[in-house]
């Protein structure tokens, strides 16, 4: 634990570097594309359009808590998909980050944990680009933001910690087990559907089956999603006990993930 704090303090010195690497990541990603930064807006928008058509107009789930209008459902979806894309992209990028930037680890004295941090942070910036679109839709569909929207940073913080912990873990393990990259894609799809994003946690089938409810509650991302839904979609107070426990779980994952990363650190220069 002492070592963790010492390392984190060390990391603070590298904040300028992290900042620069994030902006480099953002610049490099859209360099050469015609739309440039607009892709940060378009990607979630296109995704949402597909989900809206499929679930809002074709399948039409009947969930009174979401509201009957397909537009309302689209909004519900978007408020969940946006943070999910942040989580899943940063996980996938982290898994590859040590290998892609192998020459940094091999040739420059460079704290390797910066790489997953940059992956999570640059995707966080994308997430932030998506927020104005979400707000725009909130106004377009006649919903009003309540004062509880101010709690958004708290939910974001929980996800940030959780995402970092997860990224440390998988980025370090992928160096030794390259197939994690492939497992991860499938895992994330599974995870997506076991998190209340396309459906609501309060929907009837889930509330009826106690087991289903318990199982979903074990998924930390459930409570993160509920947090987003509460403060952005429903406009009500977040559920503090669940969110608090999730933050604790996220912190545990962070410490464990970092410990694994730290333990494997010396093997990186040879293995990446």
């Amino acid at each position: 634990m002492g070592r963790l704090i010492k390392n984190l303090r060390e990391l603070y010195k590298f904040r300028v570097l992290i900042q620069n690497l994030v902006s480099r990541e953002l610049k490099a990603r859209y360099r050469g594309t015609a739309l440039g930064f607009l892709w940060s807006f378009f990607n979630p928008l296109l995704l949402m359009t597909v989900y809206t058509i499929v679930f809002g107009f074709i399948l039409r789930p009947k969930d009174l808590s979401i509201g009957d209008s397909p537009w309302s459902y689209a909004l519900f979806l978007f408020s969940g998909v946006l943070p999910w894309v942040w989580f899943s992209s940063s996980s996938i990028e982290s898994a590859n980050s040590l290998m892609i930037h192998g020459n940094l680890i091999k040739k420059i004295l460079f704290p390797a944990e910066i790489l997953p941090i940059v992956a999570v942070s640059s995707n966080f910036v994308h997430f932030c680009f998506g927020l104005p679109i979400l707000l725009l839709f909130v106004f377009l569909f006649g919903k009003t933001l309540t004062v509880y929207a101010l709690l958004l940073p708290v939910v974001v913080l929980v996800q940030f910690v959780f995402s970092l912990g997860f990224s440390f873990l998988i980025s370090a393990l992928t160096v030794h087990f390259r197939d994690i990259k492939d497992i991860l894609g499938n895992l994330l799809t599974f995870w997506f559907f076991t998190t209340p994003i396309v459906y609501s946690f309060t929907s009837e089938p889930i509330q009826k089956h106690k087991i289903l409810q318990t199982l979903l509650s074990l998924n930390p991302m459930t409570h993160v999603m509920e947090g987003y839904h509460d403060c952005l979609f429903y406009g009500r107070m977040v559920r503090w006990p669940q969110l608090g426990v999730t933050l604790l779980a996220a912190l545990v994952l962070f410490v464990v993930g970092y410990a694994v990363f730290d333990r494997l650190r010396d093997s990186f220069p040879e293995e990446v």
């Binding site: 300028v16 570097l17 690497l21 020459n103 091999k106 040739k107 004295l109 393990l173 197939d179 494997l264």
Partner: protein, 440 residues
């Protein structure tokens, strides 16, 4: 207090077996040996029990063959690799020129890369802003600094990398063979900068294959072999010892290669029918080596020796060379000429002569015997040379012609250029203030 101190440093690398490589995460979990499987199967010792003390302001060279542990040593000092046992202590900011431009991102511009690379190497943003123009000017990239790095040539890439690294202005500079890739104009500039470092009493650790530069700029040199320091001390002595070791090894390599091709050269007493092309078919890879002639007189064996008569294949330019040919004449011949020719690996013909050109009159050749050409002093520059050996009639009709069948190597620390090292001396009038090189 020394700038760099290594006490009994050993670095063992982990080598994972093929089985491990294909191990999957799933199987590791299933077998429940996630961490056990991360343990290596085999260990390779890259550096073993090294003790080095480099004082502040000293320029310290490290030489050795590829794979002798030089780069690992550098990484240990830079802190990129941790010693398995022993202690590495350094005093002051380190800049490591291990790979120039490591960490450049191809998609973004040179300008942005300078900033990120500079920060990675330990500069603050303000320092980079202050030094930015200097960095770009030194790299000679004023016109391209706003183009993406992926459009750079490898030379431009390297120049920018060097320029950033050298402007970090460290207390300790680690240089790993990076100058090998620079062009003729840029390398002296880099050496100039390194010289400047020395004058300012900074510590430099210099890993290089360029022995001339090493013995010129270093105060002390360590020679590494197989992970241990074979010799440490005065540059000239260490470089000499190293060169001797290399020459012995080259000699062995030549012997080995010679014994591989020997069956081709030592053809039996029976001459091949017609202009013998069997050499070309026997060794199709050696496209340059050929042999022809009906072998009325056959050259059975060619031996290269120094003036003391020792068989040798690696020579110093100041050494002499004796080419000894053993011939066997099937029937006595009255018309014969012995000739030799030397050409470079690029096929440039350096020198050729024969008994006819030097106005020897053939009388009678019969039975077996030896002919030797004695070159008192080789006076060739560095490189591999090929030998033509021939015995033919005065009108050119070949008895036995060996083209490029034999080779030798000239190894020297001098960097003079051309084909031959013409015997010469330098003279200066007293106004020219110049230091003479140390007698080697």
């Amino acid at each position: 207090m020394p700038a760099i101190e290594l006490v009994d440093v050993t670095r063992v690398y982990q080598k994972y077996s093929a089985r491990h490589r294909f191990q999957t995460f799933k199987s590791a979990i299933v077998k429940g040996d996630l961490f056990r499987s991360l343990r290596p199967d085999e260990l390779v010792t890259a550096v073993s029990g090294v003790n080095i003390r480099v004082e502040k302001g000293e320029t310290f060279g490290v030489i050795g063959e590829n794979g002798s542990g030089k780069s690992t040593l550098l990484k240990l000092i830079a802190g990129i690799a941790k010693p398995t046992s022993g202690r590495v202590r350094t005093e002051g900011k380190i800049s490591a020129l291990i790979e120039l431009g490591a960490g450049f991102h191809p998609e973004i511009t040179g300008r942005e890369n300078v900033f990120i690379n500079g920060i990675m190497l330990g500069l603050s943003k303000r320092e980079i802003v202050r030094k930015f123009d200097e960095i770009v000017r030194f790299a000679e990239l004023e016109d391209f600094i706003d183009a993406p790095v992926k459009t750079y040539s490898s030379g431009m890439y390297m120049r920018l990398g060097f320029s950033v690294a050298i402007n970090v202005n460290p207390e300790i500079l680690l240089v790993d063979e990076v100058l090998a890739v620079g062009d003729a104009a840029f390398v002296p500039k880099c050496l100039d900068r390194i010289d400047d470092f020395r004058r300012r009493k900074k510590t430099i650790l210099f890993v290089s294959h360029d022995l001339a530069t090493v013995s010129k700029i270093c105060d002390r040199v360590a020679w590494m072999k197989c992970g241990v320091i074979r010799m440490l001390g005065d540059p000239k002595r260490v470089v000499d010892a190293y060169l001797q070791d290399v020459a012995v090894k080259q000699e062995e390599d030549f012997q080995e290669r010679r014994s591989e091709t020997a069956p081709v050269l030592e053809s039996g007493p029976e001459p091949a029918p017609g202009p013998a092309p069997e050499l070309g078919t026997a060794a199709p890879d050696e496209g340059r080596a050929q042999r022809w002639g009906k072998r009325e007189v056959e050259i059975r064996r060619v031996t290269l020796r120094n003036l003391r008569g020792e068989e040798k294949h690696v020579f110093h330019p100041d050494e002499g060379l004796v080419i000894e040919m053993e011939y066997a004449a099937r029937e006595p011949v009255k018309d014969f000429v012995f000739g030799v020719g030397i050409s470079t690996s690029l096929g440039i013909f350096c020198y050729g002569t024969n008994t006819n050109l030097e106005e020897f009159e053939p009388v009678l050749l019969s039975g077996e015997g030896k002919v030797a050409v004695r070159i008192e002093r080789l006076n060739l520059i560095n490189g591999t040379y090929y030998l033509d050996i021939a015995v033919h009639k005065r009108d050119g009709y070949p008895y036995d012609y060996h083209k490029n069948l034999y080779s030798f190597f000239v190894s020297s620390m001098r960097r003079d250029e051309g084909i031959a090292r013409l015997a010469h001396t330098w003279e200066f009038s007293p106004q020219v203030k110049i230091k003479f090189p140390d007698k080697r």
